[in-house]
């Protein structure tokens, strides 16, 4: 596409000088043109498997033989006879409540810390992102266990302050906390998104605020937070969704057992066990849809609340 408008377009009649907010002058077809790869993806790869899993959630399906319809039995089992299900829900909720706020605050704090001109800034940014480069590999699992083993770095650090943990992996609460810390440690993704968002705030706004005599704290609340709110909102929604689906950390570090007890039996870990170890994919599918409903509920609440605190430069159309 050329940079200059073509003659043809120039000759088109000019649109009304004050456009109504509703008309953007485009045909609806254009939107679907932009969306066409996404729509193709939905049709080819997304909607079929999703519907399949929804159907399977009402069946007894062992992966290899034909599913047989059982109605709501899978759903009923979750809340009645399954002794592990509620433990899995509880472990996951604890993980979400602990990891999401702390990770986002840490990411925002570091992003603010780094959002200033410094020759070393690029280096610092890379360094803070480094833990997130590791993903969830065997190496990470080994590192993490070494940090939290008896006589490991964490214990030596804590005993310096006179705190004795008595072992991280054997205590249900600490074992969960160990995985929460792993999640927080890898805060690179929200940090980078915050940084990108901070860069997008027009400098004029800060200049104007400074001229008005606002200090750092005031600039932060009256310029940074509102301008950054769409990005804060994004990180909050996505981090919540991802925390609800936490899998790799527990799978790698505790070898997928969910122990001690059911303290790290995260929802998707249990779902995976049901589907691929117990060959009960019907039940696993039902669990998946219950999780989807749960996450959708939480997300809807966040979206609802967004109306009062998220500010869009482009208007919330």
């Amino acid at each position: 596409m050329s940079a200059r408008p073509s003659t043809l377009e120039r000759e088109r009649p000019a649109p009304p000088a004050v456009p109504s907010r509703t008309s953007y002058g485009e045909r609806p077809g254009v939107a679907y043109l932009f969306l066409s790869p996404w729509v193709a993806g939905v049709v080819l790869l997304t909607v079929g498997p999703m519907l399949a899993s929804l159907y399977l959630s009402f069946t007894d399906y062992d992966l290899f033989t034909a599913p047989s319809w059982v109605g709501f039995e899978n759903y009923a089992r979750m809340f009645t006879t399954d002794v592990h299900f509620l433990n899995a829900v509880w472990a996951t909720v604890k993980y979400v409540l602990l990891s999401v706020p702390v990770q986002l605050l840490a990411a925002l704090a570091v992003a603010l810390l780094l959002d200033r001109a410094s020759r070393l800034q690029g280096l610092y940014r890379s360094a803070f992102y480094a833990p997130s480069l590791l993903g969830a590999s065997v190496a990470v699992a080994l590192v993490w266990r070494a940090m939290f083993s008896a006589d490991g770095a964490a214990d030596r650090f804590l005993s310096f302050f006179g705190v004795r943990t008595g072992g991280w992996v054997t205590d249900p609460d600490l074992a969960l906390l160990m995985l929460v810390l792993l999640g927080i440690w890898q805060f690179g993704a929200p940090m980078v998104i915050f940084l990108a968002g901070l860069k997008q705030i027009p400098a004029e706004l800060y200049d104007a605020a400074s001229v008005d005599g606002a200090g750092w704290w005031r600039r932060f609340w009256s310029v940074t937070v509102p301008m950054l709110s769409p990005v804060i909102f994004f990180n909050l929604v996505l981090d919540t969704i991802r925390a609800f689906q936490v899998f790799n950390a527990a799978f790698i570090v505790s070898n997928g057992t969910g122990g001690p007890g059911d303290s790290t039996l995260f929802y998707t870990l249990y779902l995976w066990q049901k589907g691929f170890v117990d060959f009960d994919m019907g039940y696993a599918s039902a669990m998946a849809w219950v999780l989807l409903l749960g996450i959708a509920l939480v997300t809807t609440l966040i979206f609802r609340s967004a109306r009062s605190w998220v500010h869009y430069g482009g208007g919330d159309r």
Partner: protein, 422 residues
């Protein structure tokens, strides 16, 4: 396959039809292609790939592609592939999963091919049981293995502990392990806590004429058996003879012996790799497990089976490869003891003289216990894979002092019965 039908309905059928044109191993150049998948270490992969190369040289019209992963990943992938109608033609199989696959017609009954494509005459008949379900042969033994105790003889001697020998008892083991722990001042424990490992519970049961499962797939032990076993393990742990919970807990860095914080541990002898002593970085020796009564309780079992997909399009080639891996004398020389003693007795005799190092030790151990070995138990029921994990999970409550053995055993047994009942 119904799932595919559902999908076909949900998807634009024409789109699929236009592009779907792939059949596994269509012989365009007179060659057929089959896929062989197994789990295991990089070392096993190297050795197995070499044997496969030899197979292809001997059978120039068959191309074998291989794929490998570690245990957990392997079964996740195998389940997905099988459900998707794309199982490997030949696959390594575990006894804990066999029934899940066999009862759902995912693996082939090789019985009709025995004596033709598949020869079993030279195989040790005692280890054929685990691959046999109701007289159908779903898996051939890839070897023979027995439970063994790997221990550190240097520490043992230093502590003045009695050397473990055939016929020694669990009480002897307790005394010895305690001495080792005391000698090292708790830096190295005498034993790795064995309470949570179902395979060792199995040996202990077998010493008393019981088993994990009865022939008709029910639990072969009582709740009280679990209590007694866990109480014994707790006695070891409380006395400092066995590793405490913190150390026993699953660790990506490996078992306590591998981490050099324990001086003895039980394992199937097929998992003793040729470079095991190098990995352990120490002197290690092999000994039979301690006994309750007069019986050793050791089963001679295949460490793993080899199965053919029921839906393979190249059945002849798949069977040929299977027979080659199990029976071919040249393949046996390459494969060595990477999957335990060869199940083929002629091959076993042939490779024996050339064995060295850790494999030689395993061979000698097998010779030592040869006449004490029991015929392997029947193939376990569905849900065996689940119980294996569950057993460890409930023992963790005991190991971390969160529950008394009796209490944890009660909860375990209730859930185990539910799982086995389906």
């Amino acid at each position: 396959m119904p799932l595919r039908k559902i999908l076909a309905g949900a998807l634009a059928a024409g789109l699929l039809g236009a592009v779907a044109a792939c059949g596994g191993g269509a012989p365009s150049d007179g060659k057929v292609t089959i896929r062989f998948a197994w789990w295991g270490s990089e070392q096993r992969a190297k050795i197995t790939n070499e044997a496969v190369q030899l197979f292809m040289r001997k059978n120039p019209n068959i191309k074998v592609t291989t794929s490998t992963a570690i245990y957990d990943a392997f079964f996740q992938k195998l389940a997905t592939e099988t459900a998707g109608g794309n199982a490997p033609d030949v696959m390594q199989m575990s006894d804990r999963h066999l029934r899940e696959y066999a009862e759902r017609d995912a693996v082939l009954d090789m019985r009709p091919h025995v004596g033709k494509e598949i020869k079993t005459a030279d195989l040790k008949q005692e280890v054929m049981g685990l691959g046999t379900l109701e007289d159908k042969l779903y898996g051939l033994p890839l070897g023979q293995t027995a439970m063994v105790m790997v221990y550190n003889p240097v520490l043992w001697e230093k502590a003045g502990a009695e050397k473990p020998e055939l016929g020694w008892t669990w009480d002897d083991y307790f005394e010895a392990a305690k001495k080792v722990s005391d000698e090292t001042g708790g830096k190295v424990f005498g034993a790795s806590d064995f309470g949570g490992v179902e395979s060792w519970f199995k040996v202990w049961l077998s010493q008393q004429g019981k088993g994990l499962y009865t022939a008709d797939g029910a639990l072969g032990y009582t709740e009280q058996d679990v209590v007694t076993w866990w109480e014994m393990a707790t006695k070891f742990r409380k006395a400092g003879a066995a590793t405490p919970g913190e150390i026993t807990a699953v660790n990506p860095a490996g078992s306590p012996v591998l981490r050099k914080v324990s001086a003895s541990e039980f394992m199937p002898d097929s998992t003793v790799a040729p470079n095991a002593w190098e990995v352990y970085d120490n002197d290690y020796a092999l000994a039979p497990p301690p006994q309750v009564g007069a019986e050793s309780g050791i089963y001679g079992e295949p460490p793993m089976l080899i199965s053919v997909s029921a839906r393979t399009k190249q059945r002849a080639a798949a069977l040929k490869l299977t027979d080659f891996i199990v029976n071919d004398p040249d393949a046996a020389k390459i494969l060595g003891m990477s999957r335990g003693l060869p199940a083929n007795m002629k091959n076993r005799a042939a490779i024996a003289p050339s064995l060295t190092g850790a494999w030689k030790q395993v061979y000698d151990y097998e010779e030592l216990i040869a006449d004490k070995i029991k015929v392997g138990p029947p193939a376990p029921p569905k849900g065996a894979g689940t119980l294996f994990t569950l057993f460890d999970k409930y023992y963790q409550d005991v190991m971390y002092d969160k529950a008394a053995p009796a209490d944890a055993a009660k909860r375990y047994y209730a859930e185990a019965r539910q799982v086995v009942a389906g």
